[in-house]
């Protein structure tokens, strides 16, 4: 990773130019990184307990999420993949909505339509992804075109993983973005593995970043376990896009410490030594050493911060356990702006049976035909 931008070495020592952030801002990044790890831990426990169905963790990727999202403004868009939920919380997605989405319960703003780990937050322009790899890339480019056409200086950060660089959407998206010169930043989080396929097996190109110049814009590699390097590289790329100078691809090289999801056993396809080597590059430990050396946090403060975060998360979980049942009407709503005749009839047929069986709740009543 010699060519990748690095500001903090794995031992926390400063080897580059730190961004001009205040102590408070530096501390904020740390708290958000801790929050992501705490949420992952709690969500995994809930999954093991059978309370939620699926968890795609970001453990090991905290610097990429926090560093990449930190320079965005509230009105900028973040186009997400599986693991960007922590960035959404940092930008304003209420923790309650995050947890409700993991429960897919009636408080979920998506009405439990999607499986876990498909967060959205309209207030900070964070649409959910679909699950189909790479499809959000062209969406981000089209939306960036719309922002540009209205003369806004809004920027679109379009996230995807190493596997997505092989998708149709990657090629179409980067190609259209280069031709249209839209205000977008392509954020490729290369976490080493697309489920069980190593990132080295995705391409014969010398690097993922090397693909960007073929589309007419720069690509840079960044140490994705160095939050300051992520923040700095993204800040430059975002400001470049905001100035109307076109897109950049930023490749954040990191490592997915856990399985692809709670349903995956990574020991089947990767060596323990590889995982241990990356554990020594842990992004939180590295940044903690830097902050401690600088006096931004005190020794042992991390434990207090984590305890506080867990209290907050647990309170939200407790709340979401008590969510009301999902209204059956949501089965056929939001397919179209208005429920069409055939769906009203299908629903009415269904509700007649549900009522007979006693499954219907108050408010589930039939649609007028």
């Amino acid at each position: 990773m010699a060519s990748a931008l690095q500001i903090l070495a794995p031992d926390g020592s400063v080897v580059g130019e730190p961004p001009g952030l205040s102590d408070e801002e530096l501390r904020g990044l740390f708290v958000h990184m801790l929050q992501i790890r705490c949420m992952d831990g709690r969500m995994l426990k809930l999954q093991r307990a059978g309370r939620i169905g699926f968890v795609g963790t970001a453990t090991g990727l905290e610097a990429t999420l926090v560093g990449a999202a930190a320079p965005l403004r509230r009105e900028d868009w973040l186009w997400s993949g599986l693991r960007e939920g922590g960035a959404a919380v940092m930008r304003g997605l209420p923790l309650a909505e995050y947890v409700a989405q993991m429960y897919c319960n009636a408080n979920d703003t998506a009405k439990g339509r999607q499986m876990c780990n498909h967060f959205q937050h309209k207030g900070t322009n964070y649409p959910s992804w679909s699950s189909v790899i790479g499809t959000q890339i062209t969406h981000g480019v089209g939306a960036a075109f719309a922002s540009m056409r209205r003369g806004e200086d809004t920027v679109h950060a379009i996230h995807f993983g190493d596997g997505a660089t092989s998708s149709n959407g990657f090629h179409s998206g980067l190609n259209f973005a280069g031709v249209w010169k839209v205000p977008a930043v392509f954020v490729c989080t290369d976490n080493g593995w697309a489920i069980s396929v190593a990132s080295s097996a995705q391409t014969a190109a010398s690097s993922f970043a090397a693909k960007a110049p073929a589309y007419g814009f720069p690509g840079i590699e960044v140490d994705g376990n160095d939050v300051l390097a992520c923040q700095s590289a993204m800040s430059d790329a975002i400001e470049r896009a905001r100035r109307g100078e076109g897109p950049t691809m930023v490749v954040l090289k990191t490592y997915r410490m856990l399985g692809h999801s709670s349903s995956d056993d990574p020991t089947k396809y990767r060596a323990d030594e590889e995982v241990e080597a990356w554990a020594k590059r842990d992004p939180i430990a590295r940044y903690e050493r830097f902050l401690t050396d600088r006096g931004v946090i005190s020794k042992g403060e991390r434990a207090d911060l984590e305890a506080q975060l867990l209290v907050e998360i647990d309170a939200v979980i407790h709340e979401q356990e008590a969510a009301p049942p999902m209204a059956l009407k949501t089965l056929v709503e939001d397919v179209y702006a208005e429920v069409p005749y055939h769906l009203r009839r299908e629903y009415n047929d269904f509700i007649a049976v549900a009522e007979k069986l006693g499954h219907a709740q108050p408010g589930d009543g039939a649609f007028p035909l």
Binding site: P127, S128, G142, R149, N168, G173, F176, Y336, L343
Partner: protein, 325 residues
Amino acid sequence: MANLTLIQAVNDGLRTVMKADDSVVVFGEDVGPKGGVFLATEGLTADFGESRCFDTPLSEDGIIGTAVGMAMNGLRPVAEIQFQDFIFPAFDQIVSEAAKLRYRSGGQYTAPMVIRTPYGGGIRGGLYHSQSGEAYFAHTAGLKVVIPSTPHDAKGLLIASIQDPDPVLFMEPKALYRSVKGEVPEGEYTVDLSTLRTVREGGDVTIYCYGAMVPVVERAAAQAAEQRGIDCLVVDLRTLMPLDEEGVLEAAKQTGRVVVVHEAPRFCGYGAEISALIAEHCIEYMEAPVRRVTGFDTPFPNTLEHHYLPDDRRVLDAIESVYDF
């Protein structure tokens, strides 16, 4: 009123909406200065500027994917897929993204957009310039599928589609682009989606059709009246999804004898849905089995396309068979 061909009516519809709404953008392959391979977008770049009507790189997946993003962020994209046969690279963006966005986001995000695409045979285009893929799309919840058959409907349905809050696949019967002409009102008007059009009144046999099959069925119905005194009720479905089911069932009850005509293959084709609806909801009115007149369950041929496509003789034979049953 102007007397326009169907493709002129499409062009007129686009102009009308572009004038009224600055957020409407028209794009696709060769739609800019050239005006599209069929000239549907002729003059739009000259009259509205390159920011309103423009060429894209050659990628259907890219065209539809970026259209979804534009629609999510305040524009009203009207994307052209040059031939419906070329739409499949964008199939995923249409059925998994545009069509499901409102549902999967609980209504937080939507994709109000139109995909215009010429479909169907009759121009000696072979396998890849002739297909009728409407059934793939009518099977997709969240998508609307619209097919006009007259210049009047082409303009009115297109304007309604662009103004609709949901994504619409607007399939244009290319065989009719210049072969039909009709009166088209000037300025803005709409034809409501999900409403069928009664082409011809009749009490003996009901025929359902759409797009390029409508004139074929009209000819067959005229022959049936002339040769056998059979009065056919001809129904142009116009919107395949969501279908005007009440109108369809009402038309079936009126005669008790039904023929469905489409040029797409038969197996799991749109005619199967019409047939099943009738079987489920008004079998007691039926005097004869439903007959389907369709393309073959083969790829679309080239040299023998005039045998593949339903013609008035095959339709007439079906009319007589359900009438004489």
